[in-house]
């Protein structure tokens, strides 16, 4: 499969703080999930990939264009990228249709007839076809989120970058979005805190922490890292990364030394993600 985008020793610094350590990776068609705690560098990575942010070092290639090389290449890449930022401040006074129409012009859809068709198509995709004439300010939070996703879908981009797209969506809308994304032909990179979305949708998972990728593999491979490390029993495991009392009254422990009367259960993506985090919490637990 051809590479849609790649990082070659890409790093990003904000002043003296390093947001992303030198990173090398390539993205191919399919849905890729990007997991990581707040401040891990997820948004920085997505903004670098979307060409919104220049890297401090390294080379970024999108659909064959080295975006760090020239402005012309960046423009060519942008023609093939759809990006939905984490937080969108919508323009005042615009209807949903006018908002998408304006962005379609910014994406070089010059002919008004085909542009309007495209706007209607993406409104349909996110199930906002009957909200086109409504002012954006009148839409609900979930509808605005879907509108933000719709703008990223304009032109069926080869690389679709979504920063926490399911925030504010109800379970039905999330399931609908999964259906939409799983049917796309290109490469989809989703940054999310929703591990269920990753397990339900993604072919590949990247876990980033403190500006460095600490896992790159498939969902089964991620689950395999946690195999035999999640327990349930009457008492918590010693030095577990996380424990909580379940609805059955038993305590679920992620990591740590299992209590004698506990038993192993299948890990979830969330368990595996929690276990991938650096050892500092476990170490802290031992020290305490």
């Amino acid at each position: 499969m051809s590479t849609t985008a790649s990082f070659d020793r890409v790093s990003k610094k904000y002043g003296r703080a390093t947001a992303l350590w030198p990173t090398t990776l390539s993205l191919r068609p399919g849905v890729v999930g990007l997991l990581g705690p707040n401040g891990a560098g997820k948004t920085t990575m997505l903004r670098l990939l979307s060409t919104s942010l220049p890297p401090s070092a390294g080379r970024i290639t999108v659909v064959g264009f080295d975006v760090t090389e020239s402005h012309t290449n960046r423009v060519e890449a942008r023609r093939r990228i759809g990006y939905c930022p984490q937080e969108v401040t919508f323009p005042r006074g615009m209807t949903a249709f006018a908002f998408l129409d304006y962005i379609a012009v910014l994406k070089e859809w010059k002919d008004s007839r085909t542009r309007h068709q495209e706007v209607r198509r993406v409104l349909d995709l996110v199930h906002l076809e009957d909200r086109g004439s409504m002012k954006v300010s009148k839409l609900s939070g979930g509808q605005r989120r879907r509108l933000a996703i719709a703008q990223a879908l304009i032109g069926s981009p080869a690389l679709l970058i979504l920063d926490e797209p399911t925030t504010g969506l109800d379970p039905e809308q999330r399931a609908s979005l999964r259906g939409l994304l799983s049917g796309l032909a290109g490469t989809v990179l989703i940054s999310t805190h929703q591990t269920e979305d990753v397990s339900a949708l993604c072919d590949r998972v990247l876990v980033i922490d403190a500006g460095a990728i600490c896992f790159d593999g498939t969902v089964p491979e991620l689950l395999a890292t946690a195999a035999g490390r999640v327990h349930i029993g009457p008492t918590a495991s010693v030095c577990a990364v996380q424990t909580w009392k379940t609805g059955t009254g038993l305590v679920r422990s992620v990591g740590g030394q299992p209590a004698p009367d506990s038993f192993v259960i299948d890990p979830s993506v969330e368990d595996a993600y929690l276990l991938l985090r650096p050892d500092r919490r476990t170490t802290q637990g031992v020290n305490q």
């Binding site: 990228i81 006074g93 129409d101 304006y102 012009v105 910014l106 994406k107 859809w109 010059k110």
Partner: protein, 290 residues
């Protein structure tokens, strides 16, 4: 990949969008209503009071299209920026959006030009009284001040709004700027004798009128309105270039050279409009009707 069916340039398409957005803006409609009312009053009112002052000053287009245009354009620019930010990085750069927004000044400029034409026509249909325009003031002199104070202000105000939105994109900036603009206009309209020569560096100023500290005669202030109009035009172009310069991906070295060149030309024209042609204050020998 985007299906970029070609139907004109992106700048052309975006300009049409921004013109439509300008035309739909409520504040523009408010300003347009005042300007149209002004045009109607010129047409129907043969009374000398209106004919003498407001027609000569073009105060309605200057305020209703120029000052309000500042706020209108500021809002449109912020709206465009927010839309672009919502899409992350798009193929159309900020400078293209800036040029499209700048091109939308054709809307207030056209309306102000119509007001100017009506004022010119009625200047001849119903000539002003001799205590307002006297032989030392030519018809062309009057029309130059009308054009500068009307049409150029209707262009300059919105362009100032664009410039502010580019460099000070904070909430409330446009309203504060409009208030400051009015205050500066009060100072720069030529009421204070010491500052009269320098008032030509301001868009919203006067060249002659019924204000005089020492007499009740209409007064022609120093300054050359013909060069002043050229100065205003250069300042407008400089404003657009400075707004385009804000785009980090623009060709900044070229724009910087262009901006400094325009600034030099503007300074020369400003100084010339201050010094060449009409250096002295001249009072109309006929007393006015204050």
């Amino acid at each position: 990949m985007s299906s970029t069916t070609t139907s004109g340039s992106t700048l052309g398409v975006l300009t049409r969008q921004e013109i439509r957005n300008y035309l739909k803006h409520k504040l523009f409609w408010f300003g347009a209503a005042i300007t149209v009312l002004y045009i109607v009053l010129i047409a129907v009112d043969s009374d000398e009071t209106f004919g003498e002052t407001t027609t000569l000053y073009m105060i309605a287009p200057a305020a209703a299209l120029g000052v309000l245009g500042l706020v209108t354009m500021f809002g449109l620019t912020r709206r465009s920026d927010r839309a672009a930010e919502a899409a992350g990085a798009v193929a159309v750069p900020e400078r293209t959006r800036t040029l499209a927004l700048a091109s939308a000044v054709v809307v207030p400029a056209s309306l102000a030009f119509v007001a100017f034409l009506v004022a010119v026509v009625f200047y001849y249909v119903d000539p002003p009284e001799s205590h307002t325009v006297w032989p030392e003031i030519s018809d062309l002199y009057v029309h130059a001040t009308q054009f500068g104070g009307g049409v150029m202000c209707a262009i300059g105000g919105p362009l100032l709004g664009l410039l502010l939105a580019r460099y000070l994109p904070k909430r409330g900036v446009a309203v504060v700027a409009a208030v400051v603009l009015v205050l500066i206009t009060i100072l720069m309209q030529g009421l204070f004798e010491g500052g009269q020569p320098y008032r030509v560096f301001w868009f919203w100023t006067y060249f002659h009128g019924p204000y005089s500290a020492d007499s009740d005669h209409w007064t022609r202030l120093p300054g050359n309105p013909f060069i002043w109009v050229a100065y205003l035009a250069v300042v407008c172009v400089l404003g657009v270039v400075t707004a385009v310069y804000h785009d980090p991906e623009s060709s900044r070295p070229t724009l910087k050279k262009l901006a400094f060149g325009l600034l030099a030309v503007a300074i020369v024209l400003g100084v010339l409009s201050m010094t060449v042609g009409y250096p002295e204050i001249i009072h109309n020998p006929l007393p006015g009707e204050f």
